[in-house]
């Protein structure tokens, strides 16, 4: 593989990992740590993984596991409390800006259950196929579709509420 191509691939995977980690952990610093940790581990095993597609799926699975571990640990729960406080201040300023509506979408998505959040992120943001999602989340394709459908419907409902009643 040419060096430039390789760097570009790693960069793309890195961004993907970061977005997934940020979706699950919310905090930017935590997501950054997760990305770094996983990239180092992937790097160590890169020779065992033959092609790029498998590296990507492998890295995404690792970042998912890492984030779930973080969420389980006490430290992460403290962080989420911290974040929700920060969230409120943002909320107030955003309430006066009707154009800042995308922020509400983010809030709604972030309030989804972790599993739905992850699947929604993989599908609607990263554009992953169902096979790829299956590999990452280790669930039956049917269960994935159910979770994805629930996530999308939930987002729709919440957004319709905002639309109808204002904020």
């Amino acid at each position: 593989m040419k060096e430039a191509v390789y760097i570009e691939t790693v960069h793309q995977i890195e961004q993907k990992l970061y977005r997934i980690a940020k979706r699950l952990l919310i905090s930017h610093e935590e997501a950054q740590d997760a990305t770094q940790e996983v990239l180092v581990k992937v790097w160590q095993r890169a020779s065992e993984l033959s092609h790029v597609k498998s590296i990507e799926a492998y890295a995404m699975t690792m970042v998912k596991n890492y984030c779930y571990d973080r969420l389980k640990s006490k430290q992460a729960s403290n962080l989420s409390i911290e974040y929700s406080i920060h969230d409120k201040s943002h909320d107030q300023s955003a309430a006066f800006e009707a154009k800042d509506r995308l922020f509400f979408v983010e809030k709604i998505v972030n309030n989804l259950p972790d599993k739905q959040k992850l699947i929604w992120q993989l599908r609607d943001v990263e554009g992953a196929t169902f096979e790829e999602i299956t590999e990452v989340v280790q669930m039956e394709p049917i269960a994935i579709r159910v979770n994805l459908s629930r996530a999308r419907k939930k987002i729709k409902e919440s957004l319709e509420q905002i639309d109808a009643y204002g904020i």
Partner: protein
Amino acid sequence: MPMESKEIKELIDRYLAAETTLSEEQQLRTYFRSGKVDTSLNWAKMLFAYSETTCEEQLNHSSVPSSSFDWRRIAAAVAIICVTSFGVYRLQENRQQKKMQLAYQQTKEAFDLIATQMNKGTTTVSYLGYYEKSVSSLINK
């Protein structure tokens, strides 16, 4: 137009049921990007707009070093090293000078002490002269 919106609504229903393919989802994305939509689909416009912007979210390495040398930083570092080392050198020199002065003073004091004691000694010893005189006078008698 009504035909198209009907088609879109059908696509949306399938999207909500998670039955759309990736290309169909892309179709929805381009549709909602293009502009006006039915108010009942406002939520979808927001959702697709969000998923598209968040896709561009980047991890910025704030701590990545710049590729070229920052000469100003290096110059500053060199200047600091020069100034401190010169200062230390001067300080040491100063201290040595003081030490030497102190040593000189102490030696001088010591010599003074020796001189006064010596004078005392000689005056005392001079009495021995009398003793010798008287002894020799007795012997010569």
